[in-house]
Amino acid sequence: MNVMEVNFENFDTEVLASDKPVIADFYADWCGPCRMMRPALDQIAAERSDVKVVAVNVDDEEELAEKYGISSIPCVIAFKGGQETDRSVGLVPKDRILALVGG
């Protein structure tokens, strides 16, 4: 699977109602650390069928950024059963991203 871009309209169905744990990457195109971290998210999406990886462009999706209290990016939030279970802010390696959903 690839990283799926999500927006305000499909966030509830794709993320909150997902039967798999979700890693949601809040990013922007101008954010260097976000671009630096993207390959790790691409790898997780390709390698792990038990985890769903989505991306939220905070410039396009201000309501979602506001709703989840994003004040620094990259910000990766883990969701399970519609609830936020963990989050990480700043450029982190792949294993730290995976640790958010239990490794």
């Binding site: 101008w30 260097g32 650390p33 950024a65 004040s71 620094s72 802010v89």
Partner: protein, 302 residues
């Protein structure tokens, strides 16, 4: 066994790798986070020769591609200590590696305020980069801590976005350029909170307010959603202080030839004692340190 281990894949470390590989030395670059270092957060670099406008990300990718194309090996592991000797051993989060010479190019990180709850609030109101995170505080009240150029430039940048910007500084006077101070004084939405320091963070999931105490001990509550700390940077050398000399600020004592007190261990970039910490001087250090390391290895093998 490598000829050279370079700790840190910022501009200094990657330049060192390029020089070492062009001299056909085997090179391992160890990096705790991701290559590029501090420049990755800079959207537009305008002072690197021949690249009038380039993003830090793009420059980092070009350096990385150049170093790997030349045959430098990168491992993304945190170096936790160096064992000195004729053969140097670098212990990392993932293993241990040996080399004839080591270049320490770990750079620096943002100095923390040192207030309870600070770490947990990073990304929830606490920030060390106004240009990175300022956009999330449009029309909100924010505070900047510091008195140098970075702090005042951050306050100017935020004044265009935020509602009110409080500039909190522990003294009356600023270290920043007078012209920057004057420009900031013209802004109606900037309030100066001088002779004061932040003493408490008030949060409920995210930052809600900060308590400020002035030099007379009286306390004020500022209701801000964002607190931008710009109180300098600290070198990330502390894990290596047992084998190489550091100064009071934690910088590796090394001159322009990048030699440390330990033979075969060199320092390059922002973590070295130096006058000017810039991308171009970091790259220059990388070239010098690699060349000195190559000379050292040649002497060793004689």
């Amino acid at each position: 066994m490598y000829d050279m281990i370079i700790i840190g894949a910022g501009p200094a470390g990657m330049t060192a790798a390029i020089y070492a590989r062009r001299a056909e030395k085997s090179v391992l670059v160890l990096e705790a986070r991701s290559y590029g270092g501090q420049i990755v957060s800079t959207p537009d670099i305008e002072n690197y020769p021949a690249a009038p406008h380039i993003s830090g990300f793009d420059l980092a990718v070009k350096m990385y591609e150049q170093a790997t194309a030349l045959g430098a090996e990168f491992k993304f592991e945190r170096a936790v200590s160096i064992k000195d000797g004729e053969t140097k051993t670098v212990i990392t989060s993932g293993g241990s590696y040996e080399a004839h010479a080591v270049i320490v190019a770990v750079g620096s990180e943002n100095r923390r305020l040192g207030i309870e709850g600070e770490e947990e609030l990073i990304g929830r109101g606490i920030s060390y980069c106004a240009t990175c995170d300022g956009a999330f505080f449009r029309k909100k009240d924010v505070a900047v801590v510091g008195g140098g150029n970075t702090a005042l430039e951050d306050a100017l940048y935020l004044a265009d976005l935020a509602n009110t910007v409080y500039l909190i500084h522990r003294r009356e006077g600023f270290r920043a350029d007078e012209s920057t101070v004057a420009r900031l004084r013209e802004r109606e939405n900037v309030k100066f909170v001088l002779n004061s320091r932040v003493t408490k963070l008030i949060a409920e999931g995210s930052l809600k307010a900060v308590e400020v105490t002035d030099n007379d001990g009286s306390k004020t509550l500022l209701e801000v959603k964002g607190l931008f700390a710009a109180i300098g940077r600290i070198p990330e050398n502390k894990d290596f202080g047992d084998v190489i000399d550091l100064d009071e600020g934690g910088y590796i004592r090394a001159g322009e030839n990048c030699h440390t007190n330990a033979a075969g261990i060199f320092a390059a970039g922002d973590n070295r004692t130096k006058e000017l910490r810039q991308l171009v001087t970091a790259a220059a250090d990388g070239a010098v340190a690699a060349t000195e390391a190559i000379k050292y290895i040649a002497e060793l093998k004689q």
